[in-house]
Amino acid sequence: MSSSQHSTASCPTDILKVSDLSVAFGDLQVLRDVSFAVKEGEFAVIIGPNGAGKSVLIKTVLGLIPAKSGRVDLQVDNQDIGYVPQRLHFDPSFPLTVRELLLLKLPQAAFWWGRKTSEQRVKRMLELTKSSKVIDRQIGKLSGGELQRVLLAYALVNQPKLLILDEPAAGVDVVGEQTFYELIDLVRHTGVTKHIHGQAKPHQPEHVTVIMISHDLDAVYKYADNVICINRQLLCSGIPNKVLTPTVLAKAYGRHKDVFHHDHQYHQEHEHVG
């Protein structure tokens, strides 16, 4: 992962710029020449069918998987990224409580002995993500939706500038999923610092940039500023209503998936793709 301290682009700046990125596992080419950019403050959603390489793309951006060729320019340091993977794969009998999980990102002493400022911050984050009720519950005993909201709180607790979510709504029922998108939208528009300090910090960007993998086209039309559609290669990127043409969607999901929304209206039938 490379990052440079100063950027020359016009305002708002690109927080992430991916250029001609290719990734391969041995002989298997997973991504070919993918290029796109995400601007500061945007809600970018990556879509594509199963096996399209969405998670691989995110992991390469994060430096977890090496790229075969191409560039990733990320304008934020690691400590300013909040990342939530698709699955945690942790032992469900791990008796870590939600409070303890969030304290892991705060000073060491707070974890073992407790500290008022850290405790307050944990509580504020759980309030923000509407999960105050589960503060003393073990993470292995949460429902899918509760765990996702708690992981969002975990990702937000040290005030990241960039939030990267790998299919956060997978395995969550439709109602829960909708709440989660609304929550992300709320976080973007109210900012994180405000929820921690009661007011925004002067030098902190008020709008968190979000990059998220999703299967839910309805949510893409409703919330996203930027959609990146891939299937091993880039199919389109830009404003959802402009770039998600029938041809692009047919290419991504096949002919049988050509029921989608051309307008910006939100329909209630909750069509899911994937």
Partner: protein, 272 residues
């Protein structure tokens, strides 16, 4: 039958007791992370590789304890390296190292002349075998293990939870993995004399597993694991002296009793 207070006047038992408490502390803390990271058999393979070190130590007239410490560290780092650099699954790597080091150990032992009673002590633990030097060495090793485990406590938890998330947060996962292997090796070394090669990993795993039944959060998991481990070590030592049994199996069986008891709170929670 001697009272336990009278027993405490024996210097060898005092030494064994100090080492017992140190073992209890180190195995308990390490065990929590070993079970969370599903590395139980790693610790088994590491402890069995100590046999080679001990046998080589005796054969070459070196201090068998120090030879064992060196060898377990070498083997655990090698296992980590082979797992990282090849496509072999961890259980295959463990299987290969486990059986090869036992084979090599037994082969070297067969080269030794005469009957070696001290080898049996290394296999199953012997409180009479704990020297003053062993106490000091255990103290240094335990301080190192506990220091690293608590100093970087949050890092170990984050690694157990999700290594990728930890890496994105800026944790150098590979380095921590190797440090963890060294710590595992040193813990095995601390427990070697009292528990014995065969059963060391049992004391790493059982108290932590039992603690899960009692604990409601991570901090209490740590405390329960330490409590069960220390009580097992101390009670096991006294019982082994009273009944003239090997100390390792006696300690491990006391821990097993705690493991069985740990089902009671779990059962009560489910039925309520």
């Amino acid at each position: 039958m001697n009272t336990w207070v009278e027993l405490l006047q024996f210097p060898f038992l005092q030494r064994a007791l100090v080492v017992g408490i140190l073992i209890g502390l180190t195995t308990a803390v390490l065990g929590v992370f070993v079970t969370l990271r599903k590395m139980s058999f790693f610790s088994d393979a590491i402890s069995h590789s100590a046999l080679v070190g001990i046998a080589l130590g005796i054969l070459l007239h070196l201090n068998p304890f120090l030879a064992a410490v060196g060898f377990v560290v070498l083997i655990s780092l090698s296992m980590g390296f082979v797992t990282e650099r090849t496509k072999l699954s961890p259980d295959t790597v463990i299987g290969v190292f486990f059986s090869s080091s036992v084979a090599l150990g037994v082969l070297i032992i067969s080269l030794l002349k005469g009957y070696r009673a001290d080898l049996f002590a290394y296999l199953f633990g012997d409180i009479l075998a704990v020297s003053q030097t062993d106490v000091w060495m255990s103290l240094i090793l335990a301080a190192a293990v506990l220091g690293v485990m608590f100093w970087k406590g949050k890092a170990w938890i984050r690694l157990s939870l999700n290594p990728e998330m930890a890496q994105v947060d800026g944790l150098r996962v590979k380095i921590y993995d190797y440090i963890f292997l060294v710590i595992m090796a040193l813990t095995v070394a601390v427990a070697l004399k009292v528990i014995g090669i065969i059963l060391v990993s049992a004391l790493v795993i059982i108290p932590a597993a039992a603690a899960k039944g009692f604990a409601g959060n991570f901090r209490s998991l740590m405390l329960w694991s330490m409590l069960i481990s220390i009580i097992s070590a101390v009670a096991g030592l006294f019982l082994s002296f009273q009944f003239d049994t090997s100390s390792g199996p006696t300690i491990v069986l006391v821990a097993t009793v705690f493991f069985l008891l740990s089902f009671i709170p779990q059962y009560l929670r489910k039925s309520s």
